[in-house]
Amino acid sequence: MKKLDENLKEEIAGLDRVGFDTKGETKRSGSFLVADNKTTTSESKEEDLIVMPLSFAVQVYDWVNDLLFSLVDREKDEFTKEVASQKELVGSFTYLKKGAKIEAPFQSCFFLHGQGFRQVLHNIIVLEPDSELNIITGCATGNLVSMGSHIAVTEMFVKKGAKLTYTMIHDWGSQAVVYPRAAIDVGEEATFNSNYIALTQVKEIQSNPIAYLSDRASVKFNSIIYGKAGSSFDMGASAILKGENASCEIVSRVASKNSKLILRAYIEGTGKNTKGHTECNGLLLDDRSSVTAIPELKANNIDTELSHEASIGKIAGEQLNYLMSRGLDKDTARALLIRGFLEKGIEGLPKNLKKKVDKLIEIAASSESV
């Protein structure tokens, strides 16, 4: 048993690859970590930021229970039903008080440590009016774990004038199956920025978070995916522009090498003067891959402006030749171009995160024979 604990400790120390810093190298406002179904870390360094397991939160605050399945329909699919049927709540509760603006990111991590473990989680995030928080969530499997399941319902409440930047970095095992179900209530004048980064092999990920926007709310979903070695991604984002002057952007940048990628985007413009745009750029690296972009726009109001654009192609021979003419070998030149393509997607990230993701992309693009 002791041996196992030490191994877990070691594995957790290596989770900085998904942004979870245990060495104190970067400033964090708090941490939350679940290994399999055990919460091993739950702490906040800020008075205004409350972090605890959700199972505690429902006991401490009587209103928390009402939030469960208030945004995600418990009957939506087999996975939401599975979360709803759990006897024991496992997952995080993150609460930021009114007006609190916290610069250092709060980090959370959902980690599969046991081979074949089925992790079932429910997370609640609440930002009170005019508060600001930056969350980095890393999801990963242990070094020796190839198989496992991660099923999670995450409901986020970003209240009036609040701002949540939510970054998720996935690094799953080759046979892991991952089914997150998330929904976000974005209040009046509130902002929700989501960054999703997945650069390593996985069996299957299926995710399609949905944001409901009130008046003057704004949402951005930004995804960078490098599908490889038989991975299958069915990713999407939906934005329901209910309020007046609400706006959203759904942007994906994906590279596919022997993998199947589906990128969905759904924008519904219901409120007056709403604006929505979706964009997907796909790079196909071999004949065994596919990228499918499925944008869907629905306008219910004459004063809504919705648009989409998508492009899918291969590495341009002209660029490859250009780099090779400078003495780069073909693999290095290809890796540089893949890296460049994916890095175009991180331009809007916060500076410290940009550096981190930049490094991850560099490793992902160069660590294989391309």
Binding site: G317, Y322, S325, G327, L328, L337, G340
Partner: protein
């Protein structure tokens, strides 16, 4: 013919025939360039000048269907771009492509892993502000040309080709570019110590005043029509256009 005789041939082209997408663009061309020499190629648009330098560089769409290219005595026809570049052949492209997402700094660092060296090179030619920028993205014509020279400085080839290095470049920048080209061609070294050679494809005589070349050629319709002292050839082209050269070539052909 050259006034620099050192006897060491760097590049030799024999009866070179090049096709692009099945269309013949070079029809049997011969050239010998010795160590330390700079040759200049003139010709109207579409005559085959760019085809020549691209074929030497080894761009895959330029298919050598006949003839030979020897570099330091070895045939390079089977060598890919990387091998040619590593062997010491470099090209400043006429129309370099944009490379989105790849910053000039990252490219230089990949070419020259020692970061200090690439930064120093950039500083030398006042391009350190460009290191963070994506290669050629949003660059003006002149900036692209300067960027080409910066990359060549990092590559440091022994045989360097400049395809229209001065087109679209303002007068002030030309001075800087000439300085870099001279350095790449080792024009500042005593003649006997020069090892680097090159080809300049140009329309302009301005560059020739600053970079003395050893030999000039006129290519028309994929054929080398005349050769001689570069400034004389340029004078002819300036005063009479390419027509005179074409006429002379026809007459000499008739004369047998």
């Amino acid at each position: 013919m050259s006034n620099i005789k050192k006897g060491s041939i760097l590049l030799e082209i024999k009866n070179l025939v090049v096709e692009v997408e099945g269309k013949c663009l070079l029809r049997g061309l011969d050239m010998v360039i010795e160590e330390g020499e700079t040759h200049v190629v003139f010709g109207p648009n579409g005559s085959g000048k760019t085809t020549l330098v691209n074929a030497i560089m080894g761009l895959p769409e330029y298919k050598v269907v006949e003839g030979e290219i020897l570099f330091k005595g070895d045939s390079i026809l089977d060598w890919n771009l990387t091998r040619r570049a590593k062997a010491g052949i470099g090209l400043a492209f006429q129309h370099p492509p944009v490379v989105e997402g790849v910053s000039l700094g990252v490219l230089l660092k990949t070419m020259v892993p020692d970061k200090k060296t690439s930064e120093e090179i950039a500083r030398k030619i006042n391009m350190e502000d460009y290191l963070e920028r994506e290669v050629n993205v949003g660059f003006s014509g002149g900036e692209r040309k300067k960027d080409e020279l910066l990359q060549l400085m990092a590559q440091a080839p022994q045989f360097v080709m400049f395809d229209e290095p001065d087109s679209g470049v303002d007068v002030d920048s030309i001075k800087l570019m000439v300085k870099i080209m001279r350095k790449l061609l080792q024009k500042n070294k005593p003649i006997r110590e020069r090892k680097n050679s090159g080809i300049i494809v140009t329309h302009s005589g301005v560059i020739l005043e600053e970079i003395h070349a050893d030999k000039g050629y006129v290519i028309v319709d994929g054929k080398l029509l005349c050769s001689g002292p570069p400034l004389d050839i340029f004078d002819q082209v300036k005063n009479y256009g390419f027509e005179r050269c074409i006429k002379e070539a026809r007459e000499s052909e008739k004369a047998g």
